[in-house]
């Protein structure tokens, strides 16, 4: 029976892991992720989830345990945040290089120092080049749906890569909202048991991801790149199939809101999109043609979709909850990189907002949109990267 729960995104992530019938969970607690693995521990303890729950001494060990379990051929799950994710960094490369479809919830939290427990995307975006697929969610329902979709994607033999399902700390992680949990049999039908390409088996010993000479290394890297391209093709299909079965669909790689005839397209990731929609509606009431594109999948990056948006728009403006010191936010950088090969390019501005959990309200986004509209009307961007609401 399908049911509607009112719960936090973290607990919902736990329900999603249970619905995916994960067999091994290895986890280490860290704020604001902890309640995900607590919920799963509860499910394992009370017998609702038949799985091995491995308590480890660090996040590095958590990832390594997941790698071992996935290599033994079972569906695995873990979750972390910020410094925990940073500690996993080395192992993340081993997971993708070994082509293991591990799914991990990353509850976004700003990196210290200075110490912070509040959200921005600097933790997961720092892991951009690890070969992991990266999803960014905008609400609790999407957290559930994306975890299920992520397993479907990652376990496809054309992909065989791990994925992070990212959700912003506190804004989603500890906030209650209603979520529809589909009937278990229907989920089982959508997501059959994991069949791996190879398994570790004591009776047929095998070592994997071992030393490769320069003669072959590049080909293995290229195969990961191909898998990312395949993921780009599969994500919209899986999203559509999920939508037709369960009623929730997110536009595949990019969720577009009132973009069709938009002169100005705001580009964001994660929860900012909700407030951005309110800002877009407000601007629209005044006759200003503003739209919103929410990048739902950052790796693989939807460059083609960005190009399509740029065909009709006069201006694109990215809002990053992230900065790569010495340059700009990654969303800005990747958006511009997607457009460079185009013959004609729209005006472009980038904004940095909401670092360390500073609120980005619809008023903040309205301010960003108005500034962009002003620059658009004069055909010139005054400041290429603007830090929003920065103290003087």
């Amino acid at each position: 029976m399908a049911q509607t729960l009112v719960d936090t995104a973290n607990h919902i992530a736990g329900y999603a892991a249970k619905a995916a019938r994960v067999k091994v969970i290895a986890a280490y607690p860290i704020t604001p992720q902890t309640t995900i693995v607590e919920k799963i521990a509860e499910f394992v303890e009370n017998g609702e989830l038949d799985a091995e729950y491995i308590c480890v001494e660090s996040e590095h060990s958590a990832m390594v345990a997941c790698i071992g379990a996935a290599a033994a051929g079972v569906r695995t799950f873990t979750a972390t945040s910020a410094h925990g994710l940073a500690l996993m960094h080395e192992a993340l490369h081993w997971a993708s290089g070994s082509r293991l479809p591990i799914v991990m919830a990353v509850v976004n939290r700003a990196m210290g120092a200075p110490w912070s427990i509040w959200p921005d995307l600097s933790d997961s975006l720092s892991q951009r080049d690890t070969g992991w697929i990266q999803f960014y969610c905008a609400d609790n329902q999407e957290v559930f749906d994306t975890i299920i979709q992520a397993y479907k994607l990652c376990e496809n033999e054309k992909v065989f890569l791990p994925a992070m399902v990212c959700l912003e700390g506190f804004i989603l992680s500890h906030t209650y909202s209603p979520v529809k949990i589909p009937d278990q049999r229907e989920i089982d039908d959508f997501l059959p048991p994991y069949k791996s390409g190879w398994i570790l088996d004591v009776n047929r010993p095998l070592s994997h991801a071992n030393l490769v000479s320069p003669e072959y290394y590049m080909e293995f890297r290229y195969m990961i790149q191909e898998a990312m391209e395949n993921a780009k093709m599969l994500i919209p299909k899986i999203d559509k199939e999920y939508g037709s079965r369960f009623g929730f669909e997110y536009g595949g790689l990019v969720e577009k809101y009132r973009c069709e005839d938009a002169d100005l397209v705001l580009i964001t990731m994660g929860t900012m999109a909700g407030d951005a929609k309110i800002a877009v509606d407000k601007m629209r009431k005044e006759g200003l043609k503003v739209g919103l594109a929410r990048i739902r999948v950052f790796r693989p990056f939807p460059a083609e979709e960005i190009r399509k948006l740029a065909e009709h728009a006069q201006m694109l403006a990215t809002i990053d909850r992230h900065v790569s010191f010495g340059m700009e936010g990654f969303l800005a950088a990747e958006t511009k990189a997607s457009l460079f090969s185009q013959e004609s390019r729209p005006l472009f501005a980038s904004f940095i907002a909401g670092l360390g959990g500073r609120d980005v309200t619809f008023e903040t986004i309205e301010k960003i949109a108005r500034k962009s509209v002003k620059w658009m009307s004069v055909g010139k961007v005054e400041k290429e990267t603007l830090w929003v609401d920065l103290r003087r």
Partner: protein, 98 residues
């Protein structure tokens, strides 16, 4: 999926997604010559506890019928872990040239 043990792939299509190999005996050649110190067992002190055999990171110690260890000098790299773990100090590390 293809296992990369005996084949030398010519094209990408022949390659597995990640390198996989089945174990073979000394595929990298005899690594014993890397050794600076060699472990020597004093069988009169050995209690056959098998700890050296368990701890050897290179599987270069054979557990004999009577549980006493036999060091495979073709592959022992002389790390000294066995000597360190031996509870009765029955294994000593000696310089190769001695």
């Amino acid at each position: 999926m293809v296992v990369l043990t005996d084949i030398t792939p010519k094209s990408r299509k022949e390659m597995p997604l990640t390198p996989l190999s089945t174990p073979t005996y000394g595929s990298m050649g005899k690594t014993g010559f890397w050794r600076t110190f060699r472990p020597e067992v004093d069988y009169s002190k050995c209690t056959k506890c098998t700890l050296c055999w368990i701890y050897c990171p290179d599987a270069a110690i054979e557990r004999q019928q009577d549980d006493s260890p036999k060091i495979d000098y073709d592959y022992c790299k002389g790390c000294g872990i066995c000597a360190n773990e031996c509870p009765v100090k029955a294994i000593t590390m000696k310089r190769e040239e001695e």
